[in-house]
């Protein structure tokens, strides 16, 4: 049986390696996505605003400096005219104006009003600016003024540290690509048997169908793991995951392999059902994307509506994502046992269904 598995593995990997274009297509998506996320990350969390200080005197200067240093804004101090030009040219999302009477109003014991002019293209970033403004104004020092304490927020975080935007997204992208590479590559290699007519020889041979299936799944796993190692290695090298212990890296590789195996098993099953590239191609791509987004995609599951959360909990990559995020980002995966168990059950189900699918497709 082992000989059969190795023969199928060698044959399918040979198909993969002999086509540099297919290797490129397998590796290109992670590299493109990595570059896109790198660019996106530069702008995440802060919006460009123009800061206009019309007020004179120390209080206005203090307010302007505080607003300019606020991390939620990418603020540039500009004259009123330059700010208007920057606003008109869409260089900034809003203009913050510290009024002329800022110091005198404060001195009179009243509250000066800082104005935000916002280009409200959509509610998302408009709300971001509106959330930032009170927080930024709350940091403006007002010496000489008795400042009463209002509502204090006592925060308790569940994770030791916030994971960075890029690291968090990269794990999701890694999971998508493992799944996609597994489904697509194993599916393509399997459907090749139907298109070239070699499937009959393969299934009429004395080799057990399970051995053929395992060989094909293993070939898909090697191809998918290659993608995972390249993307994961690049992310690790770039520091997106922070420092990861060798033990956690090893566990992460095992989870990746399990996920690739589930993906490859699904790919072979799908190929047996579809038996043509024209049908398999779009179907396998769509399936991997559906599985990805039904498990929360690049977001945290707590952001999803209840019905989608319920679906996420039966999708295999949800568990892969949970385990990989724990191991690579937070130093520990408290649900690792459950995650591996669910992925193992999925793999067993896929492998159990495989041989009958292969034979059924042959007898049709």
């Amino acid at each position: 049986m082992l000989r059969v598995i190795l023969s199928v593995l060698r044959k399918d990997l040979g198909l993969f390696w002999r086509s540099p274009a297919v290797v490129a297509v397998t590796l290109l998506p992670p590299i493109i996505l990595l570059l896109t996320l790198l660019m996106e990350s530069a702008a995440v969390g802060s919006l460009p605003v123009a800061l206009v200080s019309q007020g004179k005197g120390a209080p206005a200067v203090r307010a302007t400096r505080t607003l300019a240093a606020y991390p939620g804004f990418r603020a540039a101090s500009l004259s009123p005219g330059a700010a208007q030009t920057a606003f008109d040219r869409l260089e900034v999302a809003g203009v913050l104006t510290v009024p002329k009477n800022y110091a005198s109003t404060l001195a009179a014991g009243a509250r000066p009003t800082v104005q935000l002019t916002v280009r409200n293209f959509n509610a998302d970033f408009t709300d971001d600016l509106l959330r930032d403004l009170p927080d930024a104004l709350g940091r403006v020092p007002t010496p000489g003024l008795t400042r009463h304490k209002g509502v204090a927020i006592a925060e308790r975080d569940l994770q030791g540290k916030d994971a960075g935007f890029l690291g968090f997204q990269m794990v999701a992208v890694l999971v998508l690509l493992l799944l996609q590479a597994g489904i697509v590559n194993a599916g393509m290699a399997a459907v090749h048997e139907w298109q070239s007519g070699t499937v009959k020889e393969l299934l009429l041979a004395l080799a057990p169908a399970m051995a053929i299936l395992v060989g094909k799944v293993l070939a898909g796993v090697v191809a998918a793991d290659l993608v995972g190692v390249v993307l994961g290695g690049l992310s690790l090298w770039a520091g997106f995951f922070g420092s990861v212990t060798p033990g956690n890296l090893l566990l992460a590789f095992l989870v990746m392999t399990l996920l690739s195996a589930v993906g490859s098993g699904i790919g072979v099953g799908l190929a047996s059902a579809m038996r043509s590239f024209e049908r398999l191609g779009p179907a396998s791509m769509l399936l991997s994307f559906y599985l990805f987004f039904l498990a929360g995609g690049i977001a945290a599951v707590g952001f999803l509506p209840g019905w989608l959360r319920a679906i996420a909990e039966v999708v295999p990559n949800f568990y892969g994502m949970d385990a990989l995020r724990g191991l690579l980002l937070y130093g520990a995966a408290p649900n690792l046992g459950q995650d591996v168990l669910v992925l193992g059950v999925w793999l067993a189900l896929v492998l159990a269904a495989g041989p009958s699918l292969l034979h059924r497709s042959l007898t049709r």
Partner: protein, 368 residues
Amino acid sequence: MLRAALAVLRRELWSGTAQPLATILAIMVPINFLVLMALFALSGGRQNVALVVQDRGRYAAAMAQSLAKADTFALHPVGTPAAGLRLVRAQHDVAMIVIPRGFSASVAAGGPARLRLTLDNLNHDFAEDTRRGVALAAALFERQYLPASQPVNWAVRYTYPRTVGFLPFLALSILSAALLLGGLLQGGLGMAREWESGTIRELMLSPAGALPVLLGKLFATFLLALAGGLIALLGALLLGVPTQGVLGSIGPLLAVLLVFDSIGLALGSLLKSQRLVLPLAFAAGLPLFFLSGPFGPMEWSSPGALLIARIFPIYYASGLLQRSFFGYWSLAVPVGTATLVLAAWTVMSLMAAGLAYRRATAPRGGRW
């Protein structure tokens, strides 16, 4: 020339009906992309937050209202902090906010009052949204009930009378990406199939030149992609894109479809393999979706991202569609420039497809 183009168009449509499943799948892919991206968008709305109100006083109720007014949370009441913590740990909720006993009494005494926030800080970006959302709710509350704690007031002036919601805004980027994917798949797979099956030789042997063949294929692709595009448009309308922009959007929508179909033809002509076109189209779909400015203008992103976005037609296509549906222009380049860039992409794509066709028909060393 027109007769030849029409003949190619008829032949293409006929071959589409000969492979109905593949055609239906290719039409359905953009719609599926729309559904997938809508699933993605669902996670970008409000955060699920468990709210535990332990205080019965009026200020606690007012604080709960301020939390709801912060436009950040989907709040749901939970009986005890322990129950709320379970939901956060199980990733059902992003955070738990507790308004503790004595909150109202502290406010009545002039402050300070205390809120407790338990946060699953999986990601800095999401965690900061929650933190600032709670801070905004506290500021809104203080503004009304504890004004002495806020020495500086704020006022907001909006540029447009109506703020487009997160989902409708995102829906247009999704629609642009779905149209792009549809064009790449319909044009690319159709053309690659010709090369793979060798039927392109029949076309080359015919007296018709490259142009009628390409135009015929382009219009056939356009008609097939239009079916998917119209269903995708319907999906975008269901996601909240205003219907009053539909009539005005017909022109830009058809123009954008033509651009993307031309690129698809070029891709299929250059790669000549369905096995390459398909993953490349999908691989390009997601990054290009991000470069279309799905969350806000790319001008507010990093300079590198803006530079790259301006190379690709989806950036301009998305701007044109936003103009039609939302009535504002969200790109820093003028409308005319955007239109010219899209036209240039179309011409260059058709030239690339034509070049591939001509190179294949050109005699080499005395042989065809």
